[in-house]
């Protein structure tokens, strides 16, 4: 999927983009009037949260591709994408929690948006557990593809179902809920930084994905060498 040149490029570009992002967030964007400095977390909260959806969408698409072609390469990308996606879920949850402590006066609240985000993460933890419970690689790939698809269809329905409910989670882009707490208007610099954050985290996602796939290849080679040694 990724050759060594692409891997090297990503390995250079992604940390660079992240460093620039940190610089922008700390020095370039203006301080938000009401919330103060803690609002700077916003850029590294929204971007990874969106990348989760990208990651899990790629898993679903690779699952369909596997079911159509029976090519194990798709399965490897699908599982790598879930693992990287879960890392981004943790980043989004932790940064959100740290922001919520001063903004909502609590680390965690049973807000529908928070709850459904966690449920989505649990779907993909279940995805990994399902894979561990299956030994036959072909069956593992098939089941994982089907579950990745079912899980990904359930995510938007869950989000839609909670949209009907009131939520206190602010929606900065698009129409916010009337009961949302902690929303704000963005200046052009803030918008530009947010867009840059999306790009930077997308690069980071592809960088981690490529490295995870490379790791899988190396692990496979080690297994083959071990098997060869055991035979000899």
């Amino acid at each position: 999927m990724f050759n060594s040149k692409v891997l090297t490029t990503l390995n250079i570009l992604a940390p660079l983009a992240m460093a620039v992002l940190v610089g922008l967030v700390l020095f370039a964007v203006p301080t938000e009037r009401v919330m103060g400095d803690v609002q700077r977390l916003f850029y590294i909260h929204v971007a990874p949260a969106w990348i989760c959806f990208v990651a899990f969408a790629i898993t679903a698409i690779c699952g369909i591709a596997y079911l159509r072609t029976n090519n194990f390469r798709w399965d490897k990308v699908a599982v790598a994408s879930v693992e990287v996606g879960l890392v981004f879920t943790v980043i989004a949850t932790v940064t959100g929690s740290v922001w919520a402590r001063p903004a909502w006066n609590t680390w965690w609240t049973w807000d529908p948006r928070l709850t459904t985000f966690t449920i989505m993460a649990l779907i993909y933890v279940a995805y990994l557990m399902l894979r561990q419970g299956l030994e036959d690689p072909a069956r593992r790939a098939r089941f994982a593809a089907v579950y990745g698809l079912v899980g990904f269809i359930s995510v938007p329905i869950t989000f839609f179902s909670i949209r009907i409910w009131r939520t206190i989670h602010p929606a900065v882009i698009g129409t916010g809920s009337a009961t949302a707490q902690g929303g704000f208007d963005m200046t052009p610099v803030m918008t530009a930084t947010l867009i840059f954050a999306q790009v930077a985290f997308l690069l980071l996602y592809f960088c981690l994905l490529a490295n995870r796939l490379k790791l899988g290849e190396v692990a496979e080679k080690v297994e083959q060498r071990k098997a060869a040694l055991a035979l000899a």
């Binding site: 079911l67 419970g133 089907v146 579950y147 079912v150 329905i157 869950t158 179902s161």
Partner: protein, 252 residues
Amino acid sequence: MSEPSSEARIRDGENPQLTHSLQRESAGWQVYFNAVLAILWKDLRAEFRSRELISAMLVFSVLVILIFNFALQLDRVTRENVAAGVLWVTAVFSGTLGLNRSLAAEKDRGSLDGLLMAPIDRSAVYFGKFLGNWLFMMLVQAIILPLFSILYNLPMLQPLVILAVLLGTLGYAGVGTLLASMSVQTRARDVMLPILLLPVAVPVLVAAVQASGGALANQPFSELTIWFSLLLGYDVIFIAVAFMTFDFIVEE
């Protein structure tokens, strides 16, 4: 031990009507429909003789309702507020029990292989098992709802609550049958089904609780339309996905 053999007899087509209709290759649609009914009929007969599935689901449901009463320290007001939630948690947990058993029995007795070898479309196997599971869940609810009305002193037997139960169990059994076919083939299969199914079934749970809770609070249908359409939409989407992907789950 008479039960597997009776199942086998039905499967092997001792029912003359069934054999006859399965042999008519021309009417493809009817063959499919008959195959679905044959699998459903097999499950119903096996259940009628052993009564292991429904009785287990029923006793478990009653237990959950009673435990909730202690766990939540229910007084009259809270009882009315949490009734819909308790009802659906009960339905979901007992449903998981039934789904697991229904597919595990097929796997253990080797009868799943028999079903798959039958010259029918494999999705017919899915629909047969799914309709059976749905029917069992509804039968349990048919007993639980009146009991719930008495214990919680609430009018559960009203059209909107029943509609919510029908649609909610439909979607739950639909996606549950697909995931149970998966989980029985994994190593830690008894714990696998709830882990796979519950997070995916959350929209059903949310919509069903809201719909039946609203109905219990005497809200008009017009205010609950959104929840019922959500239930219906979920049912259609997930049964369609299960129909398309079931082949990959039972493939060897």
